[in-house]
């Protein structure tokens, strides 16, 4: 009888301990997953790279060490996702006022075959004159894309000179040390909200 009571008490205590730990773990987890940012917090180191901009100059990621950098991988023949994204980034940057000089947008083509310097010059500054379009050899582009974990593939169509690119459509935000800190998927392209994130970080 006494043994039985002891067993019951231990069982109750054990259950209480388990519940207690559950609450603690839940709170820890809930606090961790609750982000103060609109973008998805995503931290990743990326190696420096050098590509060619729309004016033919060599540009390295490390040139922007005192700025926040947005990097978006796309292509100039893209009629839908890319204009929407570049336009959203312009909207976000414009809302920063004087602080917009502290943010740099880089558009890296994943279609270097068609996007030479001239094609980028025609395309990228249309969205914002400060935006930089970057191209390079297919190998150079591949290396940069790989380091960001960006995937792209050529999709042939019925006519030989026409093709589309399937590509990772997230925008990456890098801090002033050149480290990825945030990722914006296509579902998070609201300029005001992106601008709010930038103001918090700056």
């Amino acid at each position: 009888m006494k043994k039985n009571t002891m067993l019951r008490i231990s069982l109750v205590v054990l259950v209480l301990i388990i519940i207690g730990w559950g609450v603690i773990l839940y709170q820890l987890f809930a606090v961790k997953s609750k982000s103060d940012y609109y973008g998805n917090v995503y931290e990743k180191e990326v190696p420096d790279f050098t590509l060619t901009d729309q004016n033919g100059s060599k540009v390295s990621l490390s040139d922007f060490r005192d700025k926040l950098v947005f990097i978006f991988f796309g292509y100039a023949h893209c009629p839908d996702i890319c204009p929407v994204t570049l336009s959203a980034l312009n909207g976000a940057v414009r809302q920063l006022g004087d602080e917009q000089d502290e943010v740099q947008v880089l558009f890296v083509t994943i279609d270097p075959e068609r996007d030479d310097q001239k094609a980028l010059k025609n395309y990228v500054p249309y969205f914002n004159k400060s935006f930089i379009g970057l191209t390079g050899t297919p190998e150079e582009i591949k290396q940069v894309a790989d380091s960001f974990g960006v995937y792209y593939v050529k999709e042939e169509t019925d006519s030989a000179d026409d093709y589309y690119m399937g590509h990772t459509s997230s925008v990456y935000l890098l801090d002033k040390d050149g480290k990825i800190i945030m990722r914006y998927p296509q579902s998070k392209m609201e300029p005001g909200q992106i601008a709010a994130d930038l103001k918090k970080i700056l």
Partner: protein, 152 residues
């Protein structure tokens, strides 16, 4: 007598044709302004099928483009965006199909003249039942000169 019957039939046929045309209504058509040297752009619009029979958008043409195709952009769970050509687009009876950024659009390929600087462009939409529907799409800029305006 036969002549009369024929002409009455003809009038009926005409009437039903124009009636069919009224069942499809296209509204809010806009085309994305792109830099002058760009060779592609996208058109977005709403297609309402007021009839009680499903219809299909089977083709699009525009004088300013070498080709016009129906495309759907999809983003998979890894964030990879792809475009897929659709041979036709189903417009269910009584429903409105919305073509909007990030979804389905009409892609104008091999632009013969720049969209920039125009107020609107003309398109012909071909429907299986409703036949040809002419549409005017307003040119809407997304560039910085438009203050980064995003079409709502």
């Amino acid at each position: 007598m036969r002549k009369y019957i024929l002409s009455i039939l003809f009038i009926f046929a005409l009437a039903s044709l124009s009636y069919a045309g009224d069942e499809i209504e296209v509204t809010d058509a806009w085309v994305r302004e792109v830099p002058p040297a760009s060779t592609v752009t996208a058109v977005y619009l709403k297609i309402e099928n007021k009839g009680d029979k499903a219809d299909k958008l089977t083709g699009v043409s525009s004088a300013i483009a070498g080709k016009a195709q129906i495309h759907t952009t999809s983003v998979d769970d890894k964030g990879v965006a792809k475009m897929e050509m659709q041979k036709e687009l189903e417009i269910p009876a009584g429903e409105t199909v919305v073509l909007e950024p990030g979804g389905t659009h009409i892609m104008l390929i091999d632009l013969k003249e720049p969209v920039m600087g125009k107020d609107e462009i003309e398109l012909d939409l071909m429907f299986e039942n409703a036949g040809e529907v002419e549409v005017e799409a307003h040119v809407t800029g997304l560039g910085d000169d438009n203050g980064g305006h995003v079409h709502q």
